[in-house]
């Protein structure tokens, strides 16, 4: 879940509005609101491209009740024009708006295609500094022809040439990405990576048609600028638990599997090359093995791009993805080894032994470097309490340093980056502010997303640009061998692994693991780094073909296959406090059982490590008292905070499920007599009157709070947890208030039902009337309940702090009937400690929990 800070306040209003809107039906405003709203949407779209992308996603997930919400939003927008600008994505709700924005973004795309025409034209100029003189006139006819008389201008243009070129490429990439999300049907069938490669092909084709030289996927650019963000994103947000639990399997696949692939493909290729009539006689064994080592590694970028879209279950995802990350060390070693030998020509046993040693040095060294920087980063974040602004940068810089330092020694940069991210994260997150955390998250996602897009586009461009040596036999045999070796490798290795795994891998799992072995840009860049020769071109062509085959054919078919095989999908529910409790409970239980069994297994060592971490490491790396905080408590705090924010933000009023607001503390607490007294026995007409007054007050409250909240946008609302809690408390109170006023949340979506609900709830009051308070109290005491729970009384609708919001007669009326305030205080305190599970369910609404 991404928390958007800027949208705090309008969401809060909507929440308040939702409560009253069950009763107050917003009158349709004047007819020019829609155009205004549309205009705001337009402006908003222009303001932030990234938000627009999010919006496009939202359009796909459009909720059935969106229209109702949009109607309300437009009313809000009338009052808060300024805010509407600040949150462009909100405008996605209404169908009409959606259509409008789709059209708008299509215009964007067409603009993009225009700019695409400009980019190659310029690139052709910029790509060749050597030919600048000759190309300049051409360029000037393109865009700045009439300014030829001003040399100063052209000089300045030269200055900004490079950044301009880069920005144009990035802009092109982003606009393309944006465009794909507008057309939901296409992006449902074809993975984004395929579309991006396709765009790259188009761009490359245009560049070539104009007669320029397209910039290929430069290996330096790729390894130093494009790859690290993706890997850091993957490493920083690596799901640690499944990763460590399946570490053995992942390692076997990554190391043994990659070795097998490399040697099988290399050996077989050599065999094929020896066949007469293939014109491949000049390819020797070492070149073949080099080729095998390049082509055998599963690519993390491609895997991420495809697997993120198919939402496969955690186990399979981590198996394939983990393999793609950890096989880097093997690839690096094999690549350097064979590249070295290909020059030397001979291999001895000693070399092979050195290769094995090298593998350990490269992988463990990479991890070591990453760990050192990770600990440094964590330690630094201990002292950033007074300079919050630079916190995220430390994370990025230390990680990048880890990557570069590893690369200096030819260690595995990827493993170093992963180790750095994994080690740094828990400590950094405990130290930095929530805002910094969000920033880190956003930046990593943004960078990796841009990098990924660029990589695929460049892949397409290089395909058109690069010199090719197409040999049917070589290419086809390569593709077939890649598939065969992957399948054989996975089946063979799973057979061995399953003997040791507690949870076995099924046939389906094996199929997905084998089929998910996508190749990608890393292989291409490694091939690109080879010394120029005919063989290099031959290899590059084959590599590109394999990449295209895996990304297009496998990438496009994997989703239908997953559906067809009914492979378990990722479960949507997350952050359930009960699940967290049971995860912890199970950890301790299993450790205990292992101890009773008397052998030291996985859980035992994990427990030991946890205790060591708690006793020593945390004390050094985490500032203040949070270092001693148990995991469950920090989880709980995090969850509470998240709920608070979601509640405050409360994206869509219509989406709030009814169950959330209907279960409150009083339902699980043992009832005391106080609540009975708390509910006044009032006539229906009296109740209606009170309701009317309260309604007016709520609206007033909203008006008043608006200015307060707008101010709040300036001072950071999330910097202080207590402030959020306070706010949450109040929102919750308002909500509960509305509950007592028998406005079920669902009623606003279905106005006719509301009447019925009202009637039925009214019966509760009559029930209270008919039964004497004493009697009901005794009845409730019959419940099996421990004695001390009686002191924790449930809430009555009037709590002290509410009076701040409701100062009028209606409040006074109701309050007059409230029981003594002391009890109320207790309850308030109690409910402060509590977190209503409510808004979290927003996401789970369609989940398995609810029938």
């Amino acid at each position: 879940m991404i928390i958007r800070l800027g949208r705090l306040t309008p969401g809060y209003f909507r929440l308040l509005q939702r409560q009253v809107s069950g009763e107050v039906r917003m009158q349709p405003q004047s007819s020019f609101i829609d155009p205004i709203a549309m205009m705001m949407a337009t402006v908003g779209t222009g303001v932030s491209l990234y938000s627009a992308r999010q919006m496009a996603e939202r359009v796909q997930l459009k909720h059935p009740h969106a229209w109702d919400q949009a109607e309300q939003e437009q009313n809000i927008r009338q009052n808060h024009l300024k805010m509407a600008v600040l949150r462009p994505t909100r405008s996605s709700s209404g169908p009409r708006l959606t259509e409008f924005i789709c059209v708008l973004l299509l215009v964007f795309v067409s603009v993009a295609s225009v700019s695409r025409d400009v980019v190659p034209g310029s690139n052709e100029t910029w790509g060749n500094p050597a030919r600048t003189t000759q190309e300049d006139p051409h360029h000037q006819t393109n865009s700045t022809g009439h300014k030829k008389a001003f040399p100063v201008l052209s000089f300045h243009y030269e200055e900004v040439k490079k950044p301009l070129e880069i920005s144009l490429w990035i802009l092109l990439a982003l606009l393309m990405k944006l465009g794909f999300h507008i057309i939901p049907r296409v992006s449902n069938v074809v993975p984004e990576s395929c579309l991006l490669i396709f765009v790259g092909l188009l761009v490359g084709g245009i560049i070539k048609a104009i007669g320029g030289e397209a910039p290929g996927l430069d290996a330096k650019l790729f390894f130093y600028y494009l790859l690290p963000p993706i890997i850091l994103d993957a490493g920083y947000f690596l799901p640690i638990r499944p990763f460590t639990e399946n570490m053995g399997t992942i390692l076997v696949f990554a190391v043994v599997g990659t070795l097998w692939n490399a040697f099988f493909i290399g050996g077989m290729m050599y065999g094929v090359c020896q066949i007469e009539g293939t014109q491949l006689g000049k390819v020797d064994l070492l070149s073949c093995l080099l080729f095998g080592s390049i082509i055998s590694a599963v690519d993390p970028v491609a895997v991420l791009a495809v697997f993120e879209e198919i939402h496969i279950n955690e186990l399979l995802h981590i198996l394939v993805f983990g393999e793609s990350l950890l096989n880097d060390a093997v690839t690096v070693v094999l690549y350097h080894l064979f590249k070295e030998f290909a020059h030397a020509g001979t291999v001895t046993v000693g070399d092979a032994f050195l290769g094995v040693v090298c593998f350990f040095v490269v992988s463990l060294g990479g991890i070591m470097v990453g760990a050192i920087y990770g600990i440094l980063g964590a330690f630094t974040s201990r002292f950033t309490a007074h300079t919050r602004v630079i916190e995220p940068l430390f994370v990025f810089l230390y990680s990048y340093m880890a990557y570069l330092s590893a690369e200096v020694f030819h260690l595995s940069g990827i493993m170093s980056l992963i180790a750095c991210g994994v080690i740094m994260r828990p400590y950094v997150e405990a130290n930095i502010s929530h805002k910094s955390y969000t920033t880190i998250k956003y930046f990593l996602k943004m960078w990796s997303s841009v990098s990924e897009t660029l990589i695929f586009i460049f892949l397409g461009v290089s395909t058109v640009a690069g010199p090719h040596a197409w040999n049917w036999t070589f290419v086809i045999v390569t593709v077939i061998l890649c598939l065969v070796s992957r399948v054989l490798g996975v089946i063979g290795l799973t057979y061995i692994i399953n003997k040791f795994r507690i949870v076995k891998l099924t046939k389906k799992d094996q199929f997905i693991v084998a089929y998910g072995g996508l190749r990608g840009a890393i292989a291409f860049s490694l091939g690109y780094l080879l010394t120029d020769s005919d063989i290099k071109n031959l290899f590059l062509t084959a590599i590109i073909t394999v990449i295209f085959f895996t990304v297009f054919v496998q990438g496009m078919t994997i989703r239908p296959l997953v559906e067809l095989l009914a492979v378990k999908k990722k479960k949507e529910s997350k952050g359930s406090i009960n699940e967290e409790i049971h995860t912890q409970f199970l950890d301790h239980l299993l450790t205990g059982i292992e101890d009773i069994c008397g052998h030291y297994g996985h859980h035992h060592w994990k427990d030991k490590l946890n205790r060591f971490n708690k006793a020593y490491v945390k004390r050094w790396l985490i500032r203040g008292e949070r270092s001693t905080e148990p995991q469950l408590i920090s989880f709980y705090n995090k969850m509470e905070m998240k709920q608070a924010m979601m509640l405050v933000e409360s994206g869509s009023a219509a989406k709030l499920p009814t169950i959330v607001s209907s279960v409150s503390m009083q339902n699980i607490q043992t009832k005391g007599p106080a609540r009975r007294r708390a509910i006044p026995s009032i006539s229906k007409s009296r109740e209606e009157e009170i309701r009317k007054i309260l309604r007016a007050n709520l609206q007033k409250t909203r008006q008043r709070l608006r200015s307060y909240s707008r101010h709040d946008l300036l001072i950071d609302p999330f910097e202080d947890v207590s402030e959020v809690r306070f706010r949450k408390q109040r929102v919750e109170m308002e909500r509960r208030m509305s509950h007592y006023l028998t406005v079920p949340a669902k009623s606003q979506e279905t106005p006719p039902v509301r009447k019925v609900c009202f009637e039925s709830e009214h019966q509760i009051y009559t029930y209270d009337d008919s039964e004497s308070p004493r009697g009901s109290a005794q009845a409730s005491r019959l419940h099996p309940s421990p004695p001390d729970a009686v002191s924790l009384l449930d809430e009555s609708p009037q709590r002290p702090s509410q009076r701040g919001a409701l100062r009028t007669r209606g409040d006074a009326e109701v309050r007059a009937k409230a029981p003594d305030d002391k009890e109320e205080q207790d309850q308030l305190k109690l409910s402060r400690c509590l977190s209503d599970p409510g808004p979290k369910k927003d996401e789970e609404e369609d989940g398995s929990f609810l029938s």
Binding site: I502, V503, K504, T506, K571, E572, S573, S576, I577, N578, I581, H582, F585, L586, L589, L590, T591, G592, I593, E594, I596, C597, G598, H599, Y600, G601, H602, H603, P630, L632, I633, Y636, T658, I659, V660, S662, V663, Q666, N667, I668, Q669, T670, K671, I679, Y740, P744, E761, I764, D768, S780, P784, P786, A789, C833, L834, S835, P837, K841, F849, L850
Partner: protein
């Protein structure tokens, strides 16, 4: 008293193997451990468990030990607790932690899942009335946090309350203000942990080889 020898294939083991699904080797290893824990007696008592040094720092030690003496975990529909257990009971309790086999039908998987969850449920439901009340749940969380000092006590309460609220909202759906949620029944417990793949989590590795000499 060493009446049972730990060599595999013993006739005494056939019965146990059928009952618990362990292999002869695993039973042998566990039997050896059993005798080690009970100092070569035929029964285990609570203080035998309390002597295990590795268990000493486990926050839920009491509950784990209690689970071994709970008749409900013996697969015989018994109730209440016992004071000492024989090897068979020990083995039956252990068998709740056996990993599921590879080729299982969905019904089998579901029954394994239910059985494992039932074990957890019984651990929480200390008074054996079929529901985990708020008090019992609070106790669970308090135990979990019992190693974190005074900090834990208050927080444990609110965590348990929050968890209970979650259960109530998941299992009951809409509740009127005067309704009372008594506690988590087993059905609710199943529903609650529907997304929690217990069948692939609540497993430990039972060794075929004897390594108990390595441990205290």
């Amino acid at each position: 008293m060493g009446a049972l020898q730990s060599s595999p294939g013993q006739p005494e083991y056939i019965d146990l193997a059928e009952k618990t699904g362990f292999s002869f080797e695993q039973i042998g290893v566990l039997h050896k451990r059993f005798k080690q824990l009970s100092h070569n007696e035929t029964t285990l008592r609570r203080d035998h468990f309390n002597e295990i040094p590795d268990l000493a720092c486990n926050p839920i030690r009491a509950q784990i030990i209690e689970a071994f003496f709970d008749r409900r975990n013996y697969r015989q529909n018994g109730e209440g607790t016992v004071d000492e257990i024989g090897f068979e009971e020990f083995l039956v309790v252990m068998s709740h932690f056996r990993p599921p086999s590879l080729n299982m039908t969905d019904e089998q998987r579901e029954s394994v899942r239910k059985e494992k969850l039932r074990f957890l449920f019984n651990m929480h439901d200390t008074d054996n009335d079929g529901t985990i009340t708020l008090e019992e749940y609070r106790h669970v969380v308090e135990e979990l946090l019992s190693r974190s000092g005074a900090l834990g006590k208050e927080t444990a309460k609110s965590i348990a309350d929050a968890a209970m609220l979650e259960v109530a909202s998941i299992s009951m759906g809409h509740m009127e203000p005067d309704e009372f949620y008594e506690g988590i029944t087993f059905e609710h417990f199943l529903k609650l942990l529907a997304g929690f793949e217990i069948e692939s989590k609540m497993n430990i590795r039972f060794l075929n080889m004897d390594t108990t000499t390595l441990c205290k």
